[in-house]
Every structure is written in C-alpha cells, then in structure tokens.
C-alpha cells in the first residue's frame, strides 16, 4: 500500500489525455446518475405518499370544520396573478365543505424563507378571514427558523382571524416575529398575504 500520491501526470494538451479526462468524468457521472435513478425509484413512492398524507392533514388542520374530503379547485390566471402580486406563488387550491355549503378554502402557497422555499397551507373561511396556517415543507435553519415552522409560542396562530380588512400584514407592524427568525417569519407573513389576496379574487 503506497502512501505516495501518484506522480504528476503529463500536463500538456495532448488530445488523447484530454479525451481520457472527459470520458472518465462522463462515465462516472453516468454511473452515479443511474444509481440515483435506482434509489429514486425506491423512495419516490413513500415520499409522495408522505406528502399526500401531509397535505390532507394540513387542510384538516387549517379548516377543522371541514367534513369529508376537500375538492381540488383549478387555478385561474387571476388567482396566480393575485398571489404573485403579494410576493408568493400559489400551487394548489382546495374547497372545503360542511353541511352541504362551502365553508372556506385551503390554499397551498410557496414563499421564500431564509434557506429556501416555505410551502404552507393557509385556510381562509367564506368571510375571507384566516382560519389557520400550517407549514407543509420548509428548509429553515434547524433550531431558529424551524421554531416559526413548528408554531412555537403560537407564532402561526396569530394569523387566525386576520382578513383583507387588516391591510397588508407585515412583521413588526401587525405580526410578531420570533427572535432570530425574522426572515422566516416574514416568509410566512408574505404567504398569508398572498392567500388573502387569492381568496379575495375567488370571492
């Protein structure tokens, strides 16, 4: 077992050498990509299953009075525009019913946090007031931004009851942030604003 690094290979621009480098790297990448595809085919199902269960649970959480299962609402250009006008993206919308009438909407909103996108479910009732906020997916810093995500000190509950009548929500004005996690708190606030805007055009 030699402990020496191999002696320096030739550095000149010999085309054969360049081709050798290219082919080696290419073949490695192909092998790795193939293996990843294999792993992905194993994990794809469980991950999707988990995301589905989570979505259903999140809807139930933000609209606790919902009966039965929610109906998917097709996104219209108006809704998409309303969300992006508030600085976030809407990806899915659901309509919840109870006792035969529509009691509200669950909107899946993506806004940017401090470490990437925050995916959240926002419930808005028929009167246009927020009924709940639940985080579906996030990559916020563990122990800091994640405090906002896990609703520590009820930071997510403060949005309940807010409606378009409260004006644009903003951290420090009418929303309290968790210390050290201002950016994450802002991300959620933007999402709620977007949800209210979308609910506004859904009427």
């Amino acid at each position: 077992m030699s402990n020496e690094v191999k002696t320096k290979e030739k550095v000149d621009m010999d085309p054969k050498y360049i081709i050798k480098l290219t082919v080696t790297l290419f073949v490695t990448c192909v092998i790795v990509a193939g293996l990843l595809g294999l792993v992905n085919s194993v994990t794809e199902g469980p991950i999707e299953e988990k995301n589905k269960t989570k979505t259903a649970a999140a809807i139930q959480e933000v609209l606790p009075e919902m009966e039965g299962s929610p109906t998917v609402v097709e996104l219209t250009d108006e809704m998409t525009a309303a969300a992006s006008g508030a600085g976030a993206t809407i990806t899915e919308a659901y309509e919840a019913q109870a006792g035969g009438s529509v009691i509200g909407y669950a909107l899946k909103i993506v806004s940017s946090g401090s470490q990437g996108n925050i995916e959240m479910m926002v419930g808005v009732d028929a009167e246009g007031a927020v009924t709940g906020v639940s985080i579906v997916k996030n990559s916020e810093t563990s122990g800091i931004g994640s405090k906002v995500m896990s609703n520590e000190n009820g930071v997510l509950d403060q949005f309940i009851g807010k409606s378009a009548a409260d004006g644009t929500l903003s951290v420090g004005k009418n929303v309290d942030a968790i210390s050290g996690a201002t950016v994450s708190s802002r991300g959620v606030t933007t999402g709620v604003n977007a949800a209210l805007a979308v609910a506004g055009v859904m009427g």
Binding site: M1, L21, L25, T28, V32, V39, V42, I47, T141, G143
Partner: protein, 206 residues
Amino acid sequence: MNLKKQFMDGLLYQNPVLVQVLGMCSTMAITTSFFNGLGMGLAVTVILTLSNVIISAIRKIVPDKIRIAMFIVVIAGFVTMVDLFLQAFVPALAESLGVFIPLIVVNCIILGRAEAFSYKNGVVASFFDGVFQGIGYTLVLLAMCIIRELLGAGTFGGGLLGAGGKGIQIIPSQFPAGMLTLPVGGFLVLGCLIAAMQWALSKSKK
C-alpha cells in the same frame, strides 16, 4: 494499517472538528438538539465511510487532474441517496435537519478525508478512517448539543426523549440562557471545546 492509531486519530489527535477544524458550518448550525446532532453525525458517518471506500477503490483509475471533480460527483451521489432515504423513511429527521443534509456535499470533512486519506490508502484502511472520523465528528456534535441544549433550553435529549419529543426538562425553563441555542452560542461552546481539547493534547504530550 494501524487500527488503534486510526481510532485514536479520529477521536482525539486528528479529530475532524476539534483539531482539523473542518465542517464548522454544520457543527454550528445543527447542534441545538440531541436528535439533530445524532442524526447529522450518523448521516455524515455513513456518507463519509461510503465515499471513502469508493474513492479509495477507484483511486488508481482517477486521473490526477480531475480528482476533485470525481470526488464531488461520488460524494454528491451518496448525499442525494441518503437525503432521499431520510425523506422517505425518517421524515422527522429530514425535516429537522432541512438544508443541512444536501449541504453535506460541501462538508469539508468528507472532501478533506478523500483528499488526505482515501486517495492515498487502501480500501479497508479508508473504510475504518471513515468510520472513526465519523464517530469523532458525531461525538463532538453530541457534546455540543448536550451543552447547548442544557444551558440554552434546560433540556436533555431534545427531539428524542420526553413528552412530545421536547426533551427532559432538567433546569427549570426560566433559568436557561436562550442565547446558547442561537449561532453565537455555537461559537462560544465550540471555542471552549477546542480550547479544552488543545489544553488536554498539549498536556498529554509533556
């Protein structure tokens, strides 16, 4: 190959965090609860061991010029696999570690060991190097988690033990200094640990 020396190097004399001062970013960021430290430590140990073995196995056919690119491809492959498996089967951990799992790709410990050890040594030695360096990393993470959690939140075993995985409250919740769970606490605790390590090492040399 000297197993005992490799073991002692990983844990003490060449400890990746306290002596080589590698992987600082993740060390600061995730050591806020016991569960995070344990999960991150295990993930890094698995990835480090696998990538060490593969890199050592292919070291003879890897051209010198592009070795770093090859290392990164191998490491990124393993990290993505571990990330997918965690998301599929341990979602709680995947959620709590968040972006730090994908960031293992650029964790200097793994690239550092590839360059410094497995590129020059045999497969078996590289395997043990991965395991021991990984254990060394995990132990430091756990020490930091325990200190920061105890002094910062007053709990032990956060994310794993106690009611609702909040950890067992040891110090009543009005006393702990929340600052220790913030990044500044990470710097303070790590500084103290490195100082203690250097002191112990210099003392044992005499």
